[in-house]
């Protein structure tokens, strides 16, 4: 039963990314281009997403546990360090260069554009690269 709802969640995430136009890198780049071809759509996407999630989470957390698991799996760390900030900055740079973030990039694979596959392959490379760095020499 849990998997059924996970599947529904994935379906809705894909539908939401597609309907909102977030799978289109040009739209993202124009949102980020505040002094040029500004397209404010992303403000409405995030705004609506945040309203639904904030209220929805409140209801679920009040219940104490999820329906098909014994507990919530939430991040436990609250440390603000160079790894968090540096990582977010690198991500911002990549997002600004390509117009792709992980969710829409993966989703866009189904449309079969070569660029989507190149991006996802590069994203895997970046992920693996960070994992290869020994824990002790990382920024944290």
């Amino acid at each position: 039963m849990q998997k059924f709802f996970v599947l529904i969640s994935g379906l809705l995430f894909g539908a939401g990314l597609t309907i909102s136009g977030m799978v289109n890198p040009a739209k993202i780049l124009n949102f980020l281009d505040v002094s040029g071809q500004f397209d404010a759509t992303l403000v409405f996407v995030m705004g609506a997403g945040l309203i639904v999630t904030t209220f929805g989470y409140q209801l679920i957390f009040k219940r104490g546990r999820p329906f098909f698991d014994t507990q919530f799996h939430l991040p436990t760390t609250s440390i603000i360090d160079a790894k968090l900030i540096g990582g977010a900055a690198l991500f911002g740079m990549g997002w600004g260069l390509s117009g792709f973030c992980p969710g829409p990039a993966l989703a866009s694979l189904v449309f079969g554009y070569q660029q989507s596959f190149i991006f996802v392959a590069a994203m895997i490379a970046g992920t693996v690269l960070v994992r290869l760095i020994p824990q002790s020499t990382r920024l944290d």
């Binding site: 709802f5 379906l11 890198p25 989470y57 329906f67 698991d69 603000i80 991500f91 973030c101």
Partner: protein, 145 residues
Amino acid sequence: MTITEFTPYSGAIGGGLIGLAAVILMASAGRIMGATGIFRGLLTTQFDEAFRWRLVFIVGLLIGTAWTGLFTGAAHNISFVSNTYMIVIGGVLVGAGTTLGNGCTSGHGICGISRFSMRSILATCVFMLVAIITVFIVRHIMGIA
């Protein structure tokens, strides 16, 4: 430079669906809907429970996108402004950055902020700001794309 149409209504509807997806994942499996963490969990050789729910989610994501794309014509509404170098460098930076920073637009931007996580609020401000600066430099200083 490609001009895109400002679409607040479909943006808000799509955003609402993304929110609903996040709520359903938390309500059913108690999991954060972060594309970074979910995707990273697939880059493994251990096909355990942690792998399986993520795989189911990604399959749903792909089907949902393809299915909605049929009705909205989204496939024809995609334009790549960046050249191949920018796509490759961008991809590596996104992969490395989201792994180090433990999240992206969905995990930090939607789910984290909704939980009032200070880490996520800060991370979102940083990646938004850096992305805006990056686009400014690329478009208005270097004059590319």
